[in-house]
Amino acid sequence: MPHFYLPASKQTPEIDFKFDENHLSMKGESYPENAGAFYGRVMEELRAYLSSGSGRNIVVDVALRYFNSASTKLVFKFVEELDTAASNEGSIRLNWLFEEEDDMLREFGENLQEDFTSLDINLQETTY
């Protein structure tokens, strides 16, 4: 599948899906006016990729410094989609990056670990 890339804006994260390397990344802030429209496209790409093969070792980096409530729900769906696909793939590793002092994003990552046990979720502190 061709490389899917959306540059970051102030309200939307950079989306960098290098499908041929099995490496997907989302990075930046997310509070668009219409989160459904933005993530609709992203999810479409993700679903097409996940159904295009199997047995792959996939690495996903999510480094969202801030996301609003509407985006939260869609980020959760994104992770859920990965979790569902995990049994079909070799492995899916999700690196969940957050600012070291950000207790809320740390907790969000910990909750993802509890909710999605088919994924290898790695919590990683970073400095923005």
């Binding site: 509070y31 409530s69 729900k73 869609l74």
Partner: protein, 186 residues
């Protein structure tokens, strides 16, 4: 400067007003204000978790106005570039104190009834109960009339260090509207 403006500024200072906007709100405006607030909080060395909660709550409130205020300059069925009326306020209790964020906007009677039920429940819950509801809501399908996945109020309640406060009063401008005010503390 004229006398009313002087009074207004003195009153704002007396009430520790950190930010105040009354008028029509758009996504672009929310973004620009959030950016300026972020720089101001950083330069004042406010601790990161507080910065984070303040900006998150400000954006959530601003977007609530843009999505749900009953007074709109744009078409009722628009989903982009909406412009709606509201008041956004941030006050700080003294130089080192907590921040209180408040938003006010008109809503219809029908929305009032819906919000009131939800908020009355939220205002009585403990932090753990709010977090548990929040996790449940993440898994639930979005509500039909919600543009935010139905977790906006839960997000505000989760980030607030005091129980959220709210009120509805008759709108002075429109008998069919109620002025809805919501307040959180970070």
């Amino acid at each position: 400067m004229n006398a009313p403006m002087n009074d207004f500024h003195a009153m704002a200072k007396g009430h520790n007003v950190f930010f105040y906007y009354r008028g029509y709100v758009s996504q672009t405006m929310v973004e620009a204000c959030a950016e300026a607030l972020k720089l101001r909080l950083e330069s004042a060395h406010i601790n990161y978790p507080t910065q984070r909660r303040l900006l998150s709550s400000f954006i959530e409130m601003g977007q609530n106005v843009v999505h749900y205020s009953a007074d709109s300059l744009t078409a009722a069925d628009a989903s982009e570039n909406e412009v709606r009326f509201g008041v956004l306020t941030i006050c700080r209790e003294g130089e080192e104190g907590q921040f209180t964020l408040t938003c006010t906007n008109p809503v219809s009677q029908k929305i009032k009834d819906k919000l009131q039920g939800k908020l009355e429940v939220l205002a009585t819950l403990s932090v753990d109960e709010i977090k548990s509801l929040y996790r449940k809501a993440l898994r639930a399908e979005g509500e039909e009339d919600s543009k935010g996945g139905g977790i906006g109020l839960l997000t505000l309640a989760r980030d607030s260090s005091n129980p959220i406060e709210f009120s509805f009063v008759e709108s002075p401008d429109n008998p069919e509207h109620q002025m809805f005010t919501l307040s959180v503390t970070v």
